[in-house]
């Protein structure tokens, strides 16, 4: 809930009209690029130098399932954009409707991931299975944790909207910042979907 970690300086004049929280979030996302860059590149490096590590005849990935969860995440991003837009217009009911949708879709995505992990473990891919298991689970797991944090954040916002303390101006920024975070989680998945799942598949 980093949006709350602020204090306002109503007297301060800002040379550029960017909200502090928004700038902070964008910086965090820039930093997160390095964060996920490290994880994804670790995975790719080990795929490159240990290409025969997993049995190529076993079809580990179910592309249909992953495409479905990618779709779900993209749609949640769409709803999040609508929620932010609604908040800017001060339509709190529309905001609630959309946010509930985002939370729901996010939970479906997490559910898919849990299902996928369980399947993989049954197929014999564990955390300590060579480097593939290590990098795959740490990478997708970290992404999953990001999704979970996002869901928790949005649930808090949803309930907070009933306290009547939200207003169109300041809370819109808070919602927008949460939205930025959510979209970023989405674009990270776009990359992971392509470089980890699809390209792995055509490499077979």
């Amino acid at each position: 809930m980093s949006d709350t970690a602020t204090a306002h300086h109503e007297d301060g004049h800002k040379s550029l009209i960017i909200d502090n929280k928004k700038l902070l979030m964008w910086l965090f996302l820039g930093s997160d690029c390095m964060f996920f860059g490290t994880l994804i590149s670790t995975h790719l490096i080990y795929r490159k130098i240990n290409p025969t590590e997993i049995d190529p005849t076993v079809n580990l990935f179910s592309l249909e399932l992953t495409s479905f969860s990618t779709f779900i995440l993209l749609m949640s991003s769409f709803l999040m954009a609508l929620a932010v837009s609604a908040m800017h217009k001060g339509q709190i009911k529309s905001f609630r409707r959309n946010v509930i949708g985002v939370i729901f879709f996010g939970l479906i995505f997490l559910g898919c991931q849990v299902y996928e992990f369980t399947e993989f473990v049954h197929l014999g891919l564990k955390l300590d299975t060579g480097t593939f298991g290590s990098t795959f689970y740490l990478m997708t797991g970290t992404h999953g944790v990001h999704v979970a944090i996002g869901i928790f954040w949005l649930i808090c916002m949803y309930f907070y909207s009933y306290t009547g303390k939200m207003d169109a101006h300041e809370s819109a920024v808070d919602v927008e910042v949460a939205g930025l975070y959510w979209h970023f989680v989405d674009i990270v998945w776009i990359i992971i979907f392509t470089v980890v799942y699809l390209i792995e598949f055509i490499g077979k």
Partner: protein, 660 residues
């Protein structure tokens, strides 16, 4: 959740002094505001100046700790085949010396200057997120405690009050002993014990502290500038803060993930750096230096910023080529991400990669050289006044040049094959670290101490500090160039007689004691200043930047009215420039100055890292019940953050007496 809606402004009362009625937060709790007790005031403060001072004091303490570690190391090496301390103890000392100096002394010293100066230099009341600032400070303290906790356990063990148990107990290394670089696989579970876990968790916590502080500063510098303070009017120190903060923001995630991967290797048996499972230990080196090389600039750029403030002030001239200095700082920062592998020339990168990194490393010498040219250019035609800050700044330029030149020698990869991991490298980076960063920081201390405490240091003791530290530094580290070229490798706890290293080592050790005496004098001088310095006045140096327009020490609100900045070197132009370049002030809108309320929550949240970090580390080492301690820490963090979110930012208004 939201932050602003509930602000209760019952405060149009006129407060002449700082005594305030504590106000209740949204939770119905008393806010720990001014006037209760000095201790609570400091613990819960969100004032960037107090936070800066605390950073500085803690960092100086760790500078002394790291210095003592270095002295023991040097004493052990004074004679061949010396057995003052065991190999293991030596390894612990050099590991902790490096870690302490980098993460617990230099970085927080820089943070101390950032905190104290940046808002003052840009004409702001505070940083953008005062409570995150407080969180960063206490998270840094938490990380420092976790990383040094091993010493405490080792002490208990020596006294017979504690025995390690569990899988790594036999190793008996409670203090990190794998080097500050922690090259895999020596950090693996089969080679090192609990010390490595403390190190991993400590660094992770320090990373969180640095990241939150850095993002805060970027937002502060971009968003909180006073009217008219355009980017190209920022003081160079603030520019360097901005660049350093961006470097931290973009470099730290690499080490965060690397540490997480290492932790997974140790705890969950993953294979990131385990050869038997297909892992490549070399990957750690890459990830470490992707962080580690920008880290070098994170350490040194603030020093360049300090010197770029001191030299103009004592030459009565603007910085020569301001734009180019700023630009070269940015280029150094950016190129700093492209040269990490020059720390790895001996790891068999292959011809092409070695050549590429060799050339890029030479390229980075150009913007660094540019800065030196500009400092010389600043002196040229000026009127050089030899006061203590200036003497240290002049010493910095000379010593930094020497460190820089041995750096160029490293850039030639084949020559580096002889220098890498020898004492030559130690000489190189200590010239940069002590001759560069330390002298600049001392220069900064003498320059801004009058502003920080309102008192002027006195007498010529500062000159003796300069003499002892500079002489000590050269006597210690100059012979090390030769030691390295005569084949003495680094990180060896002892050496055989007959290799021609004996005299050099003895000289180095003597030098280390001279240097230590210099630092001791520095501490004495600072204490003397605090105890019995004369009032310094607002602008004792006839200086150039905005921080000298406020009182010494500055009021809690920094500026009674917000300044409007007409030019670069605002104060100088105000004093000596034409009439249209005076600093003006915004009109009083009658609402008073909005001040943020103080809070316990950032401290509670960040100190939760102590049980979390210690619990996780010791759980790994097999100590009983540590899992619960870790969970307690996690709960403490969550609780702190949740209450922080719910208490609301609060705030009150101050109405300073009109004095200007």
């Amino acid at each position: 959740m939201s932050t602003t809606v509930t602000e209760t402004h019952e405060t149009s009362t006129h407060y002449g002094s700082h005594v305030l009625k504590p106000e209740r937060s949204n939770l119905g709790l008393m806010r720990p505001d001014h006037g209760k007790s000095v201790l609570i005031d400091w613990l819960t403060t969100v004032d960037h100046k107090k936070i800066g001072i605390m950073y500085g004091v803690i960092a100086l303490f760790f500078l002394l700790v790291g210095g003592v570690e270095a002295l023991v190391i040097r004493t052990q090496l004074a004679f061949p085949e010396n057995d003052l301390i065991s190999a293991q103890r030596y390894n612990q000392l050099f590991t902790m010396h490096g870690t302490t100096m980098i993460f617990l002394a230099i970085m927080p010293l820089n943070a101390a200057f950032f905190n104290f100066l940046v808002p003052l230099q840009i004409g702001a009341r505070d940083v953008a997120f005062p409570r995150i600032n407080s969180f960063s400070l206490w998270a840094f303290v938490a990380g420092a405690l976790v990383i040094n906790f091993g010493w405490f356990l080792q002490l208990l063990e020596v006294m017979g009050l504690f025995t390690a148990s569990g899988p790594t107990a036999g190793m008996n290394d409670l203090v990190p002993s794998m080097g500050w670089f922690g090259y895999a696989p020596i950090t693996g579970i089969e080679f090192t014990g609990a010390g490595t876990d403390f190190w991993i968790m400590g660094l992770q916590i320090l990373g969180i502290a640095s990241l939150s502080a850095a993002m805060n500063f970027v937002v502060t510098i971009i968003n909180m500038r006073a009217v008219g303070m355009k980017m190209m009017r920022l003081p160079v120190f603030t520019w360097m803060t901005l660049i350093v903060s961006l470097l931290i923001v973009f470099a730290f995630p690499a080490i965060t993930i690397a540490l997480a991967e290492l932790m997974f290797d140790r705890v969950f048996g993953t294979n990131f750096f385990v050869t038997a499972g297909g892992g490549q230990p070399i990957l750690w080196q890459h990830l470490f230096w992707i962080f580690g090389h920008p880290e070098v600039y994170i350490l040194v750029l603030p020093a360049m910023g300090i010197v770029s403030e001191v030299l103009p002030a004592f030459s009565k001239k603007p910085l020569f080529g301001y734009a180019i200095v700023v630009f070269s700082g940015a280029v150094i920062g950016f190129l700093g991400f492209a040269v990490w592998s020059h720390h790895m020339f001996t790891t068999g990168l292959g011809k092409v990669a070695t050549a590429a990194f060799s050339l890029l490393t030479m390229a980075i010498a150009v913007p660094t050289g540019v800065k030196i040219f500009n400092w010389v250019g600043t002196l040229w035609g000026g009127r050089v006044r030899f006061s203590a800050p200036m003497i240290f700044a002049l010493g910095f330029v000379w010593m930094f040049m020497m460190g820089g030149f041995s750096g160029i020698m490293h850039s030639s990869a084949p020559a580096d094959a002889q220098q890498q991991d020898s004492y030559f490298v130690i000489a190189h980076f200590h010239y940069v670290a002590i001759g560069g960063i330390f002298l600049a920081v001392v220069s900064g201390i003498y320059f801004w101490l009058p502003k920080i405490c309102g008192k002027m240091w006195k007498g010529n003791l500062s000159l003796w500090v300069a003499i002892f530290s500079t002489v000590g530094l050269n006597v210690t580290f100059f012979p090390m160039h030769f030691l390295g070229l005569l084949g003495m490798p680094r990180r060896t706890h002892t050496y055989l007689e007959g290799f021609g290293w004996e005299t050099y080592n003895l000289v180095c050790t003597i030098g280390a004691y001279i240097l230590a005496f210099g630092i001791f004098l520095l501490v004495v001088d600072i204490i003397r200043c605090l105890r019995s310095g004369e009032p310094a006045g607002d602008d004792p140096w006839d200086a150039r930047t905005l921080e000298w327009t406020t009182t010494s020490p500055p009021q809690v609100y920094n500026f009674a009215r917000n300044p409007i900045i007409p030019a670069r070197d605002a104060l100088w132009e105000h004093k000596h420039g034409p009439e249209n370049r005076k600093i003006t002030y915004e009109p009083d809108d009658g609402h008073g100055i909005h001040m943020p309320s103080q809070s316990w929550m950032p401290m509670i949240a960040s100190l939760g890292f102590v049980p979390l970090g210690l619990g996780l580390s010791m759980m790994q080492a097999g100590v009983a019940y540590m899992g619960y301690v870790a969970i307690f820490g996690l709960l403490m963090i969550s609780l702190g953050v949740a209450l922080w979110a719910l208490e609301g930012p609060g705030g009150y208004h101050l109405h300073p007496e009109e004095e200007n």
